[in-house]
Amino acid sequence: MSIEKTNEFRPKIVAFCCNWCSYAGADLAGSSRLGYPADVKIIRVPCSCRVNPMFILRAFEKGADGVILCGCHPGDCHYTTGNYYARRRMTLLFSMLDYLGVENGRTRVEWVSAAEGVKFSTTMNEFVEKIHSLGKNVRLEDLRCRN
């Protein structure tokens, strides 16, 4: 397979999914054959509260165009309270990114349960579309890491 250079913008999207709800929701989307663009790559974490804001910034630094965090719905966290902490941390981080002039919509948090294969798929479709509309991430990228 040759890696062709095309002009078409193919965004790099990192999705952090908690093991108990959202990763299972993504599995369900798979077994239900509910498609979404291949640009989305999932990283499994035990809980949304495991996601350090540094991971998200790191992804942008390395050239990601969008980062989405999925976890159990508030109240359903496998560890009872993890997503509540994640919610505060991400709210503040996103607010800071907005404050620095990073385009809104490059980051997103969505609560997806293990039963919500449909929601997982539609969320990813929406998110990819949003990133397409925003285009390449230039404001946050470390130029050295561009391929």
Partner: protein, 324 residues
């Protein structure tokens, strides 16, 4: 000021404390520096005036490890930092004898220079007891004056109040200096378009030389080893190559102290490049106040910080977009 020296000598003499943490005269009249005084003789060098902006609470991390009690002088705003350090077990309350000192606003020599007053040799009128609103400045170009207020640090214009949150005794009068809205600057930036914001911060942050003065002075950023020096995140100390690294550094620096930052303003005071670093910390404070209820780090030593607590009804991260 003499009252402070007298009292410090008394406490040294009666054995209550074995050393004093305060400010000593610098080589110029406007740059006193934090210092330990181990004897009554050394205290002759003690100074406390408008230029003693340095927050001594962080020095008490080391002070707590020394034998015996240390007398520390804390301005009202410094006591918030001290409380926060107690909460995080970084200082030992029993090792400190705290004298809360009065404050009528702290001065920034850069603000005097910015008024076109160059070649400064001596400044008078900065004394804590002096009841004058004028600073008399002797320069190599002759004598100049400016008002006390015009030379004050930004943080003093948005002062949290002149009440000491923790102390063993209080000496000296304070004067209210608050004459501006703490969040006005933040609101101004929030109202900009994304492009303007990005340009603003790019301009400010491109001045950053990663000298780490902001890290070193910050009483909340007191880790024994900082994540920026750790090999876990690949963020170890490095020079700025591009704009993202500056941003990443400052976002993370501010995020790490979010909910713990008392807004003491030391970061902005010490930045050699004059970057308004408090704009990051204060943005988090503003968000926390708006989203999770008013919170002042260091107002007490027990309450849980906003990032280590939650409510079931907290706003979703989408609020960032919605409230614009």
């Amino acid at each position: 000021m003499q009252e402070l020296v007298t009292r410090a000598k008394e406490l040294l003499a009666d054995g209550t404390v074995v050393r004093v943490l305060g400010w000593k005269r610098g080589d110029l009249s406007y740059n006193p520096e934090p210092a330990y005084f181990n004897s009554q003789e050394e205290l002759e060098q003690f100074v406390y005036d408008g230029f003693c902006g340095a927050n001594l609470s962080k020095y008490m991390i080391e002070g707590s490890k020394k034998e015996g009690k240390t007398l520390v002088f804390l301005k009202p705003c410094d006591t918030y930092s001290f409380n926060q350090l107690i909460k995080e077990h970084r200082v030992d309350r029993d090792k400190a004898y705290i004298i809360g000192v009065g404050c009528r606003g702290k001065l920034d020599v850069e603000k005097i220079k910015a008024q076109g007053i160059k070649g400064i040799q001596n400044i008078s009128g900065a004394g804590i007891e002096e009841d004058t609103d004028t600073l008399n400045i002797r320069t190599i170009y002759g004598d100049k004056t400016c008002t006390y207020g015009s030379a004050m640090l930004e943080r003093c214009h948005v002062c949290k109040g002149k009440e000491h949150m923790i102390f063993d005794e209080e000496i000296g009068e304070s004067k209210d200096t608050k004459d501006a809205d703490r969040f006005a600057e933040i609101e101004k930036i929030e109202a900009m378009s994304p492009e303007e914001k990005f340009a603003f911060f790019q301009k400010e942050l491109s001045k950053c030389i990663r000298c780490n003065a902001c890290r070193n002075v910050c009483p909340a950023c007191s880790c024994r080893k900082c994540v920026f020096d750790s090999n876990q995140f690949d963020s170890a100390q490095k020079a700025n190559v591009d704009s993202f690294e500056e941003k990443m550094f400052h976002i993370i620096r501010a995020f790490h102290v979010a909910g713990r930052c008392t807004d003491c303003g030391e970061c902005s005071r010490v930045c050699p490049q004059g970057i308004p670093l408090h704009l990051f910390n204060r943005k988090f404070i503003k968000d926390i106040n708006e989203l999770y209820g008013e919170y002042q780090a260091g107002a007490d030593t027990e309450s849980k910080g906003p990032l280590t607590s939650f409510t079931f009804e907290d706003a979703e991260p989408g609020i960032v977009v919605e409230r614009r």
